[in-house]
């Protein structure tokens, strides 16, 4: 990865022939009708920076931050523009130029991106503290007493959005190696960061689905962050450090597949090749790595996923595509096919299923207004389907839409496709 737009291969910028096919797919253009907030408009600004026709300005930095990074434009683009690469390069350049940084944002970045998300044990420790705070009723008490009002503005806004931390993390639920009755494949399971702290049960469900389909599952108890958070927020060097740690922990040649169940992580994970392109030692390994990373739905459907013999009763389910699963990884059919394997489950299509829900990594923190508009739009569509379950496969979307449904007073529950499938497999045992 190149550190600036000027050093980037110019043909990546030229690839955009500004035909405008991306405009109707872009949520920020849709909301504002201003070209600057569109993919081709942003690329024009990036090109102007590369051509030295535009200085790196605070407004340019704002614009790069206003982009959701949902990559819907990449699906829409017939010319095959590598927008993801352009956006990450632009954000890295903005970051290293030190634009738009306040004391709070710098502190916040130091604690999270440079701190917790670089140290998995520390992150779990912080998660445990948060769990205690929630468990001991302090959260409720503080809110009632108004203590939370003393927090700085940014934290005060975020505090109610803080997800409930799981009682047990992944290592308490999944042994380092678990074997199926008949072993066909050897796979690694990535437990993620938010996924591990909040949705460790979904990691368990993923392991169960793999075991039911002949995979020996390797789940080291301590795993680094994949670095997607860092790459998306202009911290390319840290992203490279984490990518190397990942490759060291999971030598790609030893596994048939390296499984991820979080759409956002998955899209970053399968692009370690370009990230480590300048690293002579890791480049060849990264290339193998990229071919081994598989989204759980993609892998399990490739292996002709076994249809469960038992169902979960009559269930109407609709499915929301996480941006980086559908636009980044192009995994769209497989989660739907997986759901349709479950007896008694009726899948109804969600209008605008692949339109961003506003979670977009930490976008709901950095751009709360736009994120909220997108959430309201998404929740309206979900309620309109009349489905009792919304399935989606990314922790960010999961938290965001669940919060939106709660706010709207909807009874629709949010579950991930692997959870539904794992429950159906478990129902087999009960009925047998």
């Amino acid at each position: 990865m190149k550190p600036s737009l000027k050093l980037l291969d110019y043909s990546i910028l030229q690839q955009c022939m500004h035909c405008g096919m991306c405009l109707p797919a872009c949520p920020t253009y849709d909301a504002t009708k201003k070209e600057r907030h569109s993919p081709r408009g942003r690329i024009a600004l990036m090109r102007a920076v590369a051509d030295e026709e535009l200085p790196l300005s605070p407004a340019f930095a704002d614009e790069m931050s206003y982009c959701l990074g949902c990559l819907a434009c990449q699906t829409a683009c017939p010319a095959g523009v590598d927008y993801s690469n352009l956006l990450e390069t632009a954000r890295a350049e903005v970051q290293s130029a030190g634009l738009n940084q306040t004391f709070t944002s710098r502190l916040w970045r130091a604690v999270t991106i440079r701190g917790l998300f670089m140290r998995p044990r520390l992150l779990r420790f912080a998660g445990r503290l948060l769990w205690l705070y929630q468990r001991l009723g302090l959260q409720t008490a503080f809110r009632k007493l108004g203590v939370t009002k003393l927090l700085p503005k940014d934290l005060r806004r975020l505090e109610p959005q803080c997800p409930t931390i799981a009682t047990q993390f992944s290592p308490q639920l999944i042994r380092p190696i678990e074997s199926p009755t008949k072993k066909q494949y050897r796979v690694a399971l990535l437990t993620g960061c938010v996924q591990d702290l909040v949705f460790s049960d979904i990691n368990r469900d993923t392991a169960d689905v793999l075991l039911a389909n002949g995979c020996e599952v390797h789940t080291p108890p301590v795993q680094p962050c994949c670095g997607s958070l860092h790459a998306h927020n202009g911290e390319a060097t840290l992203a490279q450090v984490l990518a190397r740690r990942m490759i060291d922990l999971f030598p790609p040649a030893q596994f048939d597949a390296i499984i991820t169940n979080a759409g956002g992580c998955g899209n970053h994970l399968r692009h370690y090749g370009p990230l480590l392109a300048e690293d002579a030692t890791y480049r060849p390994l990264a290339k193998i790595w990229d071919t081994k990373v598989k989204d759980i739905h993609e892998w399990i459907m490739e292996q002709d996923c076994r249809a469960p013999r038992a169902g979960l009763g009559d269930l109407t389910v609709t499915y929301h595509d996480s941006c980086h699963l559908t636009h980044g990884q192009k995994v769209t059919k497989q989660p739907r096919e997986l759901l349709k394997l479950i007896p008694g489950l009726k899948l109804v299509e969600l209008p605008e299923a692949n339109w961003c829900c506003g979670s977009a990594g930490i976008y709901n923190i950095t751009q709360p207004e736009q994120a909220e508009q997108l959430l309201v739009r998404k929740v309206g569509h979900v309620i309109g389907t009349g489905a009792s379950v919304l399935a989606t496969a990314n922790p960010g979307c999961h938290l965001q839409i669940a919060r939106g449904l709660r706010q709207a007073g909807s009874a629709t529950t949010l579950l991930q496709p692997v959870t539904l499938l794992a429950r159906a497999y478990r129902a087999e045992k009960k009925s047998a």
């Binding site: 110019y10 043909s11 030229q14 690839q15 022939m17 500004h18 035909c19 405008g20 096919m21 405009l23 109707p24 009708k33 201003k34 070209e35 600057r36 569109s38 081709r40 408009g41 942003r42 024009a44 600004l45 102007a48 026709e53 535009l54 300005s57 407004a59 340019f60 614009e63 683009c77 017939p78 010319a79 095959g80």
Partner: protein, 460 residues
């Protein structure tokens, strides 16, 4: 000369401060349209919300002799909406309301910034149909379509945008508002003024509202795709279909280079090992569609079609048409710069023209992908090049010159559906002749004596 602050503050009063853009980061993205290698930064971009605001802006510009370039979504392919030096850009995308659909008189009235596909979607709710479907219809605006007289994939049977315009509201170069036409099927009162503005490329007035004719929606449709080992066989299939008194709605072709690029993007299983693909579609009454499609398939087979794929459902038909619509942009995968042409020849000269283009490309050592509307004789040879390679760009210009010369010799036109804009300006006079060219300029001068609306487009 920079815009005076007094003018900017007056513009802010008219449209609201949030709709006047002047910062570099705001105006750079309005410096181009869908045409390659043309770029000019505007002074300011104005986003009016209704006709009276457009009129007030134009009046202000006229009083201060400031050029005005109008645009919608900026998808034009001849540089028609690229800013002129020192101009104000009027971007009309916020005027996006469908005013009414009249299911009795079969018309729709809409503001100029409504997206083309939204017009057809609104008609569809009443079982009606708006046929013109330019490649960019998911984002192009209806005002832009009328100003450029856009075509599309259904031209052979349904004609082009002009054939559906019944009335227009236009802001004249002095800021007066004029209305032309009405919902009557017959109307011969005076000159057909609306026709003067259709295809005028923003040089005579600013179209702010349109009244369009709708048709009953065809109840059946069949989409077929045939592959050929030789381009002539595809062209002969088209001639034979028309000779058999069948007018299908679509007869589109892609050459080998275009097929590869489209398949790389759309991944819908197009055969890559053929010289030409012919996309055929017939629509109308189910019985007629069944009969015509059988005949078309037989004709295709008789003329050497290899593989023939018939779309099994609407989704597959849409997928095939969408793939064809993405052809131009998909070709951009190959080289950094994509220069698209729009030459059109009488239908019976099409095979000859396609062969000539291939010859010219080979002679000048250029990569070219050709696709287009075989039923209309409308070709889109697309040069895949690099604007930074001066020597190669010179060869592109030589090749274009030869293609234009041959097109005109065959009785064709330099542009079938994209307009003259900046890109085709050098050749207009040669095509239309001195007298016709002079008359066009007289009309421009009569309507816009100060030469403020889209100056420098079509002619100098």
């Amino acid at each position: 000369m920079p815009l005076a602050d007094s003018i900017l503050s007056r513009l802010r009063e008219i449209v609201g401060a949030e709709n006047v853009l002047t910062a570099e980061e705001d105006v750079i993205p309005y410096g181009f349209d869908g045409t390659a290698a043309l770029k000019q930064r505007p002074q300011a971009v104005i986003l009016p919300l209704d006709t009276s605001q457009v009129a007030a802006c134009v009046k202000l510009a006229a009083e201060n002799k400031i050029p005005v370039v109008t645009r919608g979504s900026g998808t034009g392919l001849s540089g028609g909406s690229v800013p002129s030096e020192g101009c104000l850009v009027l971007c009309l995308v916020k005027m996006d309301k469908i005013i009414s659909v009249d299911a009795t008189n079969l018309t729709v009235r809409a503001q100029c910034g409504v997206i083309t596909a939204a017009i057809d979607a609104a008609a569809n709710k009443h079982g009606l149909f708006y046929p013109p479907d330019p490649g960019s219809m998911k984002i192009s605006t209806i005002g832009g379509n009328v100003a450029e007289n856009s075509g599309g994939l259904r031209g052979l049977k349904y004609g082009v945008t002009r054939d559906y315009v019944m009335g227009l509201e236009v802001v004249m170069p002095d800021g007066q508002i004029a209305r032309f036409g009405n919902a009557c099927v017959k109307d011969v009162a005076g000159y057909s003024m609306k026709d003067l503005f259709i295809g005028s490329e923003g040089t005579l007035g600013i179209i702010t509202e349109v009244l369009l004719k709708l048709l009953p929606r065809p109840t059946a449709r069949r989409t077929m795709l045939a592959s050929y080992a030789r381009m002539e066989d595809a062209a002969n299939t088209v001639s034979a279909i028309i000779a058999a008194k069948i007018i299908p709605c679509t007869l589109e072709f892609l050459d080998r280079m275009t097929i590869g690029c489209v398949e790389d993007y759309a991944k819908i299983g197009l055969p890559r090992d053929c010289e030409a693909l012919l996309l055929m579609e017939t629509d109308g009454h189910p019985a007629a569609v069944a009969d015509e499609s059988e005949q078309m398939l037989a004709i295709a087979r008789a003329h050497g079609a290899g593989n023939i794929r018939v779309a099994q459902n609407d989704a597959e038909a849409l997928q095939l048409a969408t793939a064809r619509r993405s052809a131009f942009s998909a070709l951009a995968r190959v080289r950094p710069t994509t220069i698209l042409e729009d030459v059109t020849v009488p239908r019976d000269k099409l095979a000859e023209m396609v062969a000539f283009i291939a010859e010219v490309a080979k002679k000048h050592k250029l990569l070219v992908g050709t696709f287009g509307h075989m039923g209309d004789g409308n070709l889109h040879p697309t040069f895949l090049t690099d604007e930074r390679d001066v020597a190669e760009m010179a060869r592109v210009h030589d090749a274009l010159e030869e293609i234009v010369t041959r097109t005109l010799a065959l009785g064709g036109t330099i542009t079938g559906e994209h307009g003259v804009g900046l890109a085709k300006k050098p050749w207009l006079k040669r095509q239309v002749g001195d007298n016709s060219y002079a008359l066009m300029r007289q009309i421009k001068h009569a309507l816009d004596p100060q030469n403020l609306l889209n100056p420098g487009k079509i002619f100098d």
